[in-house]
Symmetry: D2
Subunit: 133 residues, 4 copies
Amino acid sequence: MTYAQRMIETNPSGAAVDASTLVECIEACFDCAQSCTACADACLTEGDVQMLGRCIRLCLDCADICDATGKILFRQTAFDAEMARAALEACARACRICGDECEQHAEHMEHCRVCAEACRRCESACNDVLTAV
Amino acid sequence: MTYAQRMIETNPSGAAVDASTLVECIEACFDCAQSCTACADACLTEGDVQMLGRCIRLCLDCADICDATGKILFRQTAFDAEMARAALEACARACRICGDECEQHAEHMEHCRVCAEACRRCESACNDVLTAV
Amino acid sequence: MTYAQRMIETNPSGAAVDASTLVECIEACFDCAQSCTACADACLTEGDVQMLGRCIRLCLDCADICDATGKILFRQTAFDAEMARAALEACARACRICGDECEQHAEHMEHCRVCAEACRRCESACNDVLTAV
Amino acid sequence: MTYAQRMIETNPSGAAVDASTLVECIEACFDCAQSCTACADACLTEGDVQMLGRCIRLCLDCADICDATGKILFRQTAFDAEMARAALEACARACRICGDECEQHAEHMEHCRVCAEACRRCESACNDVLTAV
């Protein structure tokens, strides 16, 4: 069991939406935040940093939003559906934009391929929770 | 001059939207993030923490989104209007929700009054940039 | 394979210290940041929030340091051993302090038990990287 | 009055160390976090990004630690001197390392000059609180 699963399970409030849908989204948010942080750094080392300016920038943006969204979803005290929706919609959009960018470099750079995958999974997980909220 | 002003002015990309509107929003985001962080903590010390659970939680959420939005707006490299909009819309909504909550406690707790003010200013500044983008 | 493993493996810089030691520490930092974020929230819902003020506060602090340290360790471009050490030492100390506090509540609250475990693992992983750097 | 001043003043716990020393450090931490975030971005747009890889990376690291430290110092509930010290020592070191790097580019890039100044001020403010704690 992951820490996200265990922490949601042991929270006295109980999960505000279906626990497995929620946990999948929390993990997808944090995995995406981490992948984007690492992808921005990996791009810095690549030869043509100029070309990757947009990728680095969008990865940093996406990491910030995913991280905020993961934390917001993790909190079960006095769950507020409108706050969750605000974060989830921003996160799904950020992941789409960043995923589209990383995908363009996926053939030549493995880190962009993995990061694009993390973005797609996070976008999809956010949309699943949006449907459930 | 504030650091936000100086950093936007010295950025070789130039500001993507009107510089003073942008700087006001960046500062409002970070001021709100800080106020929410401090208000959540101040609520913890108040007598009736149970009653303040919702306030603490929304302050933590709002701080996370404001902080992410402030960073995203600060980046001028390869500015992406859709990414900015995603963050700004989430931030304006988060500030409205958190500001409404803090306002309910503003009469009895000074920190909630100051925090509500920071939320209102940030919501308004986000909407100004949304119009300009 | 986790995202942390895949992102370290695909980074063109190569890991600055033994990759498996590094990945274990990055994952321990982010797991601990998440557990502390969730434990602070779970404590808010518990009956005696007053008694848990210190636990909530230390969990928020520890989450902030673990998150910063995880990101710093994830960056491989122009790795700086002194910067890594500064973060790792702070993180090991924060995890010890927070782990000691959570452990005191571990018998009565499962989320504190899981969080204490995450803190211990992270403290130990930070010390392992400190030895390797 | 800044928001940091107002929030410390209205906190029912009272400041754990001399309020003006504390507020100066909180503001220096957040100003430095913002300057480093913006400097990393500005470096991305400069011609020779390769040369600036180290500067970008250290700015991102320093921003993460300054942000965590600012939040930790802002919390007055159940203040823990050892937790504060762990963060402050890491922050002072991070600011020294990042300030030294930015200073090397200060002559040619205004954003690095401003960022170096923010780092020096933050390092000094952290040392002042370390003396007072």
